[in-house]
Structures are given as C-alpha cells and as structure tokens.
C-alpha cells in the first residue's frame, strides 16, 4: 500500500468525524452547556440577574411551595396525556380510514394535514374565538334556537385546560395521521392477504397484525408529539394567555414569567430543571425499551 492511499484512507476514516464536529460542538454548547448552566443557577439565590452563591435546594423548596407551580404541573399531565392519547388515536383512525382506497384521498390528506401548516399562535387565536361563548359555537347554537346550550369551558377555570387540548389535537392529529399513513403504506400486502386466506376478519387483522407492525411509526409519533406537548408555550399564550386567572398555566409559561417578569431567576431555573427531569423520566425508559427491542429484532 502506497503512502498516499494510506493517507487518503486515514482521511476517509476521519472525514465523518470532521464533518459532524461543528454541529456537535454547536449542540454541546447551545444545548448541554446551557442545561448545565441552568442547573447551576437553580442552586443559587439569583433574582434579577445571575448571582453565583450556593444556597442548596432553597429554590426548589420555594418552587414547590408555590400554588401556581402545582397548577402548572397538574395541567401539564392533563394536557400531555389527553393530547398524546387523542392525537395518536385520531391520527391512527384517520390513517386507517384513508387507507381504504377511497376516492379523493390526496385532497382529504391535504385537508387533514393542513392545520399542521399553521403556527400555534394562529390556532390558538382562532380557537379562542371559536370557543368564546359570546362569539363562537355557543352563540351560533343559541341563535339557532337551542338557547340552553352551554359551551363555556374557556371561561371556567376547571375546564379551560381542556380547551387547550382541543386546539392542540385539532392541530396535531393530522400530523400523526401522515406518519401512520406512511407506515401503513410500508406494510407488505402479502401479510394481509395471508391473514385473509386464514379467515381473519378485518378488525382482527388491524388489531393483531397491522397496528403492531406500526410500532416504529408509533415511536416517532409519540416522541414528536410529547415534545410538542411540553413546548406548547405559544398555544397557551395565544389561546388563554394562562387564564382564566392562572388556570391554564403550564410549566413553560411559569418558567418564562418567573425568570423574566418576576425577578425569580433561581425559581425559574429550578422549574426548568424539574421539567427536564420529568421529560427524561418519561422519554428515556421509553426510548431505551423501544430501541433495544429494535436491535433484538
């Protein structure tokens, strides 16, 4: 082997690393370094600007003694659970129905996927009007003659969080549908034919064969939707602005207002760390189990 080919083969070995290095560096600095920095701030007494003294877990104690944070955490669980379940369920249902070789499938697909093209700000504002009892659905139905009809969730502190779920599901279920549809198209027809020859009914085929085969698509949908759920700051801001009162506060809106509007940078950082740990506690085991079983298979 000549020196030059050895050189080029060594270069070829290093090339992928060199190419990846800048983006890796950017990710390390902008993501992991700042996560670390937020962690440091959360154990200091920082208020208006960062101060670097160590106060232990004082900010965490303060955070958990704040009723507004409890509302935020409860809302996150309600919102994420319903948003994930409904978006995934509806998306899967729409994908299966669209997959029945129907007419105008392309047009329908575009219609269902279209809400995804809107920003959460637009979705939130539109749904704010649709669900306002004096402007939207309730008024229309009342004007049609059903004067007793009530749809005023958005004004009710106990129900307002569900309006966020409705708007979120409306926006994201089309996206879940698109991924499932791609997954469905990837399934080999011969598997289904074989099952039909065996005499399996269509619901049984879907339940026992097709949906289990959509596992990779399911993984993508769940991972993508859960981070949409956690970062759904703009949707809440546009739809309810955290209201009525503070009823639809989410950890992300809490974190923003503590850090930038309430002079509680330490509390804000503590809430950010809590969010990170919650996400990690849910996503990491899921990713671990899914990716491991993939390797085995």
């Amino acid at each position: 082997m000549s020196a030059s080919t050895r050189m080029s083969s060594r270069l070829a070995g290093w090339l992928p690393r060199i190419v990846v290095a800048p983006s890796l560096l950017v990710v390390i600095v902008t993501v992991y370094l700042f996560i670390l920095w937020t962690g440091v701030i959360s154990v200091t007494s920082s208020k208006f600007v960062p101060t670097y003294d160590f106060v232990g877990l004082e900010q965490y104690v303060r955070l958990w003694a704040t009723p507004r944070w409890h509302t935020a955490v409860a809302n996150l669980f309600i919102f994420s659970a319903l948003f994930l379940a409904l978006s995934t369920g509806l998306g899967l249902l729409m994908a299966i129905l669209l997959d029945q070789n129907i007419r105008a499938e392309g047009a329908l697909r575009a219609i269902y996927l279209y809400p995804m093209a809107l920003s959460f700000i637009v979705t939130g504002t539109a749904w704010k009007w649709i669900m306002n009892p004096g402007l939207g659905v309730q008024k229309v139905v009342n004007d049609l003659g059903w004067t007793d009809f009530r749809f005023d969730w958005i004004t009710n502190p106990d129900m307002a969080i569900y309006t966020v779920v409705v708007a979120g599901v409306w926006q994201s279920s089309g996206f879940a549908m698109a991924i499932f549809l791609a997954g469905l198209r990837g399934i080999d027809n011969s598997v289904i034919k074989a099952a039909q020859i065996e005499g399996a009914s269509l619901p049984l085929i879907y339940r026992q064969i097709i949906i289990p085969m959509l596992r990779p698509a399911m993984l993508s949908v769940i991972v993508l939707l859960s981070y949409i759920a956690i970062k759904s700051f703009d949707l809440v801001l546009a739809l309810t602005n955290g209201g009525p009162g503070t009823a639809t506060e989410l950890p992300s809106t809490f974190m923003f207002s503590a850090t930038f509007r309430r002079n509680q940078m330490g509390v804000g950082a503590a809430s950010a760390v809590m969010m990170l740990m919650t996400v990690a506690a849910i996503i990491v085991p899921y990713l671990y189990s899914e990716l491991r079983s993939e390797n085995n298979g």
């Binding site: 208006f48 306002n132 502190p157 009162g245 509007r261």
Partner: protein, 415 residues
Amino acid sequence: MSRFIATALAATMLVPVAAHAEGQIEVLHHWVSQSEVDALNVIRKELEAKGFEWKDSAVGGMSGANAQQALRSRLTAGNPPGAMQFLGWEGVQWAEQGVVRDLNDLATAGGWREALAPQLLPFVTSGEAFIAAPINMHRQNWVWANRKLFDDAGVAVPKTWAELIETGKTLKEKGIVPVAMGDEPWQIGIIFDALLSDINGPEFYQKTAIDLDPEALGSPEMVKVFDMLREVRGLVDDNFVGRDWAVATGMVINGEAAMQFMGDWAKGEFLAKGLKPNQDFYCFATPGEVNAFQYLIDSFGMFTVSDETVQKAQVALAETIMDPKVQKGFNLIKGSIPARNDVPVDDFDDCAKLGYHERAAAIEKGSMQGAITHGFAAKPEFASVFSDVAAQFFVGKMSSEDAVKMLVSGIDNAR
C-alpha cells in the same frame, strides 16, 4: 454567543437614520403603538434640535419584558444602549448592578428632585445617585363610564364602592354589561389595587402593598377587600375571557358596557372617537373616602459608556426629557400627565386636569401611592403574588378567607 444574539437583535430592530450630528444615542424602549411613537417624536425632535441624533431601538411586546431581555443580552455583551426606558424597579435594580450612569449633577443643577413628588424618588434614585429621568405619569385607578347609559338609567357617578355596586346592579337589570374587562391578571389587579386603598385607606395600602406587613396582609380588612372584589365579579359578563383592555374600552364607547376600571391610557380610545370628557363619557377616580392616586411612571436611564460623544448625548437627552416644555408636548399626545409637578396643564383635557388636581391633593393626604400591578409598590416577586391571588379568586369560586390565607403564604414564600 450572547454577543451574537445582541448583534442579531440589533440588526433587526434598528431603524437607520441620517448620519452626521454631534453625537448619537441609541434608546431602547418598548413603545410601538402610534400614539406612543408620536409622543416619543416630541423628545426626538427636541434632541435633534440640540444636534444629537436619536437612534431608535424599539422592542415591543410582553409589557416591556422583551425589551428587558434585549437589554440583558446587550449588557452581557458589554454593549449597552445609551439610554433605556425603565418601568417600576428596573432602573433601581440595574443601578444596584453598577451599570447605570449617575445624573446627580444634572439633577441638582436643574432642581429635579424638587420638581418631582417625593413618592417618585425611590424609583429614580439609588442612594445618593439620580439614575433616571421620568417623563410622564399615568394614574391607574380611573373609572371610565358611558354618560348616556348613566343618564338613561338615571344613575349618578357613584361616591362609594357600595354605590358603585348598586349602580352596576341597576344597569344590569336594564340589560347592560355594568363593567367591561378581561380576565388577564393585570386587569383584575387594577381593581384589587384600588380596593386596597379605597376600602381601608392609604395607610392600609402602605402596610400591605409596600411594607408587606404580615399582620395587615392577614387581617379582617383584607377579607373585606376580597368580599368587594367578589361583588365586582358579579357585574362582569361571562365572555370576559381573553378580552383585551382596548376591546373592553370599545364596549364602553359603543354603549354595550357602562364602566371600565383602567389607567388613563384608556382615555386615548375615547378621544380618538371624537368623544368629549364629561359630555360623552365620565372619568372619575375609583370611589373612596380618601381619593387614591395610584401612579406609574415611565423614565429613561442612561448606561455607563466609555464613548464621550454618547456621554454628551446622554446629558442632552436627560435634559430634554426633564424640560417642562417637552414634558407638556409629550404628555398631551400620550394621554398621561407630566411627571414634574410644576408643569401647568391648562391645555390638557378635563380628565388630565382632574387627575393633575387630585394628584396635588393626594400628595398632601399621603394617598399618592405606586400601583402594585404596574410594579410601583412591592418588588416584582411580591407584586406577582398579589396579582396571582386576585386573579385566581376573581375567576374561580374561592372564599375570601382562603384568598387571604393564600396571599399571606404566597408573600412569605417569595421573601
């Protein structure tokens, strides 16, 4: 990294202006609406007449929180703007960080301290230093009312909160929304602030909103404040969620609603429709035995910079802002009254005149006090507890006693 953000921000927000002047000063502020920009132009023109150029850096949104964020990254990058608009404790807090220029020589020479109400000094001074030049003063505890609706219903301007509630009930029976408002915590906070002082007197306001005295915060007087707030909720329609304050003002203008509790920035909406104070609409202070004047001011502070031309421009800008002529011109457009006590308001509208006279009386009686909701009483970490509790109470079904408990524990938790 932050330098990069700062440059990127700066590149997107700067409006290029003609070069060549004695010096240039960049002013970071969050005034972007038409009347605000027009009012700023009064300062800008006067500054340009002195030969200095105004470089505009407007960062709107989030009631100034976005501008504060921009400032943070600029300071971190070691590239602060020449001047910045301050609200509430912001100026004092930056001064404590040692980044704000002391204007004490100018203040002493110009007699600024004497021209301002003593209540303002905690927000424009830090120790011996004079750190910000206040341009205007808004009053937060106004009631704006549709005169025609009042006349048709045969009701007069209420003199007490009990009367106000009765007036509201009369109007409600006639199918009019008595009080127009939104559910945003700050809109609810405006009513809460007013009630604190109107029901229990300015001393109680001092003890609770400013001194955060635990005993006063948990007292039966505080329960009365929440009881009255519940009465006000009964006068608000159920569609108030997500309603912008200006939309609520529009309801009063159109005759859909009778009253709104709002600062005097609401006046501009009436005047823009060609309506006349006292003829078409009433403006009166929230009723109380002692009339409260709950103020908020906008001021401009200067940052410590090494560039000498900028330093000169800072002096020129501060002097321009404190110029009585500029204060008059600015506030005629902005709808507020001059921060200086010695600027005559003869050319102003009737509401501004009323506010000006009530301010003089309130300074004497000790009822001129900073508004919590706009950050001129307790520091933000405490002020937000007041607005959280008031807002949760207002939109929900909490009892007054529970609200008081929540307030006391919330304030303790933020200490």
